[in-house]
């Protein structure tokens, strides 16, 4: 066994720490900018204030975008988790003709530029006579997000021994009982992270929303429009709030997962 020297470990550790710093640097800048009082961002910040947060919370239109984003993300998360659950079983578990093909078609939307996909969907909606709104955006998000959720759950399915299900069948459980009492509980962590992923990816999505939401607007769309035409310090404030919301969802998710795993290890 090749021993890893302490020096090498230190070097690798610092490289990763730097990388993590790099990933979070722009977000830290945003948070900082949201507390700046002046209209244009200057560093070092001459005066701090929380005034922009007040403006944001009072703005009715921003509240509207918030609700649109939230409903969209929730709907996408619920539908995509259900689809992904069955998709993952088909992807990883059951042997059937065409499975290899299914696996590949499944990956294609993820590998596809979202802007082009969004446009294609817009043309498609127009062709079949549907007016784009946030409800059609659910569909657009699903095309890209459900495959990702499927991958997340599939990883869990691969690790799961089919013999457990067979044993339950042998003991006289019906198909439904097996699903409810064996398959679902074992796959629960994967399903749960699939749900979280779907919610968060939809919450942050811009390229698909841009084309698919029609007259409705989500928060990422509002931010993007403001970045391009008329920066106001409300942008970083809204941005900070959406980041907080995402962080909260993730934290609650991990907390729930942790509690679940503790309970199941205590029971087992």
């Amino acid at each position: 066994m090749q021993e890893i020297s302490r020096r090498a470990k230190f070097l690798y550790g610092s490289a990763i720490a730097l990388l993590i710093l790099f990933m979070y640097l722009p977000m830290a800048t945003l948070v900082l900018a949201s507390f700046s009082r002046s209209k244009f961002f200057r560093f070092p910040i001459p005066a701090y204030s929380v005034k922009h947060y007040g403006d944001v919370l009072e703005s009715l239109s921003i509240r509207g975008f918030f609700w649109t984003s939230l409903f969209l993300a929730l709907a996408v998360a619920v539908i995509s988790t259900v689809l992904a659950f069955f998709g993952a079983l088909a992807f990883a578990r059951y042997d059937w003709k065409g499975r290899k093909l299914f696996q590949k078609i499944m990956l294609l939307p993820i590998l596809f530029p979202q802007a082009v996909l969004g446009l294609a969907l817009l043309l498609w909606f127009t062709a079949i006579g549907v007016t784009p709104s946030w409800t059609t955006a659910i569909f657009a998000h699903l095309v890209w997000i459900a495959p990702i959720a499927t991958m997340v759950i599939a990883i869990q399915v691969y690790a799961f021994d089919p013999a457990v299900e067979e044993a339950a069948m042998d003991l006289g459980a019906s198909r439904w009982q097996v699903l409810k009492e064996v398959t679902l509980p074992i796959l629960a962590p994967g399903i749960f992270s699939g749900f979280l992923f779907s919610f968060l990816l939809s919450w942050a999505n811009f390229p698909l929303s841009m084309f698919a939401t029609g007259a409705d607007q989500t928060i990422p769309e509002w931010i993007s429009a403001k970045i391009q035409s008329g920066y106001t310090p409300q942008v970083p404030a809204v941005g900070t709030l959406t980041m907080l919301a995402a962080a909260l969802v993730m934290a609650l998710g991990y907390l729930a997962a942790w509690l679940l795993s503790r309970r199941s290890s205590a029971a087992g």
Binding site: F43, L108, A120, W124, W203, A204, V235, P236
Partner: protein
Amino acid sequence: MTVLLLAGFVGPLLLVTIFAFMPAQSFSVLQTPTLANFEEILATSYYISFLSSVWLAALTVLILFVICYPVAYAMVRVFGHRGSILAVLITAPLFVAENLRLLGWVLFLVKGGVVSGSLETFLGIQVDSMLYTSAATLFGLVYVYLPFMLFPMTLGISMVPMQMREAAFDLGASRWQVLKEVDIPLAMPGILIGALMTFILAAGAISEAKILGGTAVVMIAQDIQKEFTFAQNWPKGSALSVLMILLAGGLALTLLKRIDLDGIFGRR
């Protein structure tokens, strides 16, 4: 799942392809097909944005390979199970809208922003804005797509059996030889998926060039969006999209043909 993919992915892409062969400025697919759009693209400057997208995407992949390989290696081999916590930390920014993170960099790099503002106030050095160049666009691409390279790479590296590396060392291979002859070839499926994802996503990127690149770079997705919105020329936009689809689909299919997905996700 299959229905979703047929109605939400295959259908729209077919429609775009049909539109690409319609005469310019038309909004219906019931006309005589023509190759005029493609001829126009080749005759005018449109192919430049296509080439610059491909070139920037290739550079992005190269840079990300150099950055991510040691990090992925360290996460799998040096930090063991703590590596997965690091992976979560590095991928979590995906759940913050891309535009926001790019805006963070704008505020960081712009004249009077965090870098130039600090240099001026503390050291008295004047620097110009670091934005609106193709280098800034490349920087944004590298930043945004880093997790897409890193994650498949860690999957790939974790597939390399330890015994294989030990055997190579026992047989007298140098570190460099093990890297070249064992590590990289065996981790190749993961590396290829990462490279493919980053390449396609970067080639189809839209926000990086818009937000960080200003007018210095025009990427293909911007041209496509322009044709559909301002120019109202659906067929031309579709023809440009078809070029994108051919590039992305061609690459994805060639690669997926060579890779066994069960092997990667199931780590069997």
